[in-house]
């Protein structure tokens, strides 16, 4: 049996500042210079006004659980093994992120649970933002 590594992000022009942020312990998103829309996920163009001008702003890293599931059988062989949670967290600023919840029992997870970001370094370049129950 050969082992397949879990896939890690390969940053693009649009997403590199996001991944640089997580490496430094900051959760960031793009805010449109022209209309002020805070967009997620990172993209070249604002979906409201089509402007390409934007700045990266730091987010609070706080939010609440919008949805959560437990994957028992993944389509991706790298995720075969013990069941694990996948959550969607709605940040206080609005964006909803796919993530995993850490430092929490499955039985304690519920929609609306307050959470905060927990940065999880994978290597020198990539740090994944996961979330834990808010202190």
């Amino acid at each position: 049996m050969f082992k397949i590594d879990k896939p890690l992000p390969m940053p693009t022009e649009e997403s590199a500042p996001f991944w640089e942020g997580t490496r430094r312990g900051e959760l960031r998103a793009q805010r449109c210079d022209d209309c002020g829309h805070l967009r997620w996920p990172p993209a070249a163009i604002c979906p409201i006004c089509l402007s390409g001008r934007h700045e990266w702003v730091r987010l609070s890293g706080r939010g609440k659980v919008h949805s959560w599931i437990v994957v028992h059988k993944s389509q991706h062989p790298a995720f075969w093994g013990d069941p694990f949670n996948v959550a969607i967290v709605e940040l206080d600023e609005g964006p909803r992120l796919h993530t995993n919840l850490v430092d929490v029992d499955l039985a304690a997870i519920r929609i609306g649970l307050p959470v905060e970001v927990a940065f999880d370094p994978q290597n020198d370049e990539i740090t994944l933002p996961r979330f834990k129950p808010a202190a």
Binding site: S67, I69, V70, Q75, I88, H98
Partner: protein
């Protein structure tokens, strides 16, 4: 379009066909597309030379292959004036029929073949995992986690239970058990559903569609021409199509509703009909929560009544108010990307279903597909209303 009704009933389905389907190793996606196409052309009785349009859905497993629709046309010995490969996932069959109807109405084509074939383990293709850098690293891969999130939100927002999902799966299996072509024909009980293993909580195995090798095809032409053909016209009275982003960008939708309602509204307006007029419906059922969602957004149930509706057997062909997925659906007949739903919708109008509803005048079919596993998830909803 100023008046959506001007296209209503102008085009029709003249013929439908399915290839062999199920788990059929050693076959090819192209072979299934050709087999289904030949079957649909024969079913219609149209001369091959009359087909001057070809639309083909290329299966995702094949990766990027140029000119897929052209290849289907060449293998069938056709010389189309319009030929295009289309992809809206499970929304494609109806999206292709809508395109075909527009081509016929515009005078670009006289008869259009819409076709699909899929082999889940194709030769010569390295499996690729597609997914967003903002989803896949967390193990949020593919349609199953997406639909599990939809299910979790339905449980939270409208109080749907796993047993109510189970009632949907049981109803469709009952229909499949009467369909000699269906992939899963063994009877299923609610207890079987509840005992089936978790795939992605809150979804059990029996909440998920089958994995199927096979193909389907549809011949669309003018209603006038179809009337002179073998089975007459299954008129395309109404169409709807909307593209939506959910879960991550749900702010355009009411809580507990989600996207898709506009697709139904377009189809009702075009056909001049409403949910109460529907005699039988084929709802795109990749997963049981999608059936709940469709019953709400297409106007068959309010969010607070949908659970009781499915538990009361209202989807069953012989005792329900809304006979649904009467050949067994993607959950039990097979996953032919919704082509089998179109075929069954036509059978119901012709009176040839193995779970026939009496005196069908209005037969509805829906599609759903796209990139639910991306961030943001994007999906297409398609609707067609067929009449005699």
């Amino acid at each position: 379009m100023d008046d959506p009704r001007q296209l209503s009933g102008k085009a029709a389905i003249a013929g439908v066909g399915l290839s062999r389907f199920g788990r059929v190793p050693g076959t090819s996606a192209m072979g299934f597309a050709l087999e289904a196409s030949a079957s649909a052309i024969a079913d219609s009785g149209i001369a091959k030379s009359e087909i001057d349009g070809v639309l083909v859905l290329m299966p995702a497993q094949m990766g990027e292959q140029h000119g897929w629709a052209s290849r289907v046309a060449v293998h069938l010995g056709l010389a189309p004036a319009f030929c295009s490969t289309m992809d809206m996932g499970g929304a494609s069959a109806i999206g292709m029929m809508q395109t075909a109807a527009a081509l016929v109405h515009a005078g670009v084509c006289k008869a259009v073949l819409c076709a699909f074939g899929s082999q889940t383990n194709p030769q010569g293709i390295l499996p690729t995992m597609f997914g967003s850098q903002f989803a896949i690293p967390y193990g949020d891969v593919g349609a199953m986690p997406f639909m599990a999130h939809v299910g979790r939100r339905q449980m939270h927002e409208i109080g749907i239970t796993s047993e109510q999902y189970g009632a949907i799966a049981v109803a469709f299996r009952k229909h499949a058990s009467r369909n000699p072509l269906a992939q899963k024909r063994d009877p299923m009980t609610l207890a079987d559903h509840q005992a089936s293993r978790w795939i992605v909580e809150p979804l059990h195995l029996l909440d998920c569609c089958l994995v199927t090798d096979g193909g389907g095809a549809i011949v669309v032409t003018s209603t006038e021409r179809a009337r002179d053909l073998r089975h007459g016209a299954a008129k395309l009275a109404g169409f709807g199509q909307v593209h939506s982003s959910e879960i991550v960008h749900p702010d355009r939708h009411e809580a507990g509703i989600g996207g898709g309602r506009e697709a139904g509204d377009q189809a009702w307006r075009m056909a001049g009909l409403g949910p109460a007029d529907v005699d039988v419906v084929q709802l795109y059922d990749g997963f049981t929560p999608l059936v709940v969602h469709s019953l709400i957004v297409y106007g068959f149930c309010r969010p607070d009544e949908v659970g009781a509706f499915v538990s009361a057997g209202e989807l069953e062909f012989d005792r329900g108010r809304l006979p649904t997925n009467t050949a067994g659906g993607l959950l039990s007949e097979g996953h032919l990307s919704g082509f089998n739903h179109v075929v069954e919708a036509v059978r119901q109008l012709r009176g040839t279903s193995t779970s026939q509803v009496p005196d069908v005048e209005v037969s509805m079919v829906t599609g759903y597909g796209g990139a639910p596993h991306e961030a943001p998830p994007t999906v297409a909803y398609t609707v067609a209303i067929l009449t005699r």
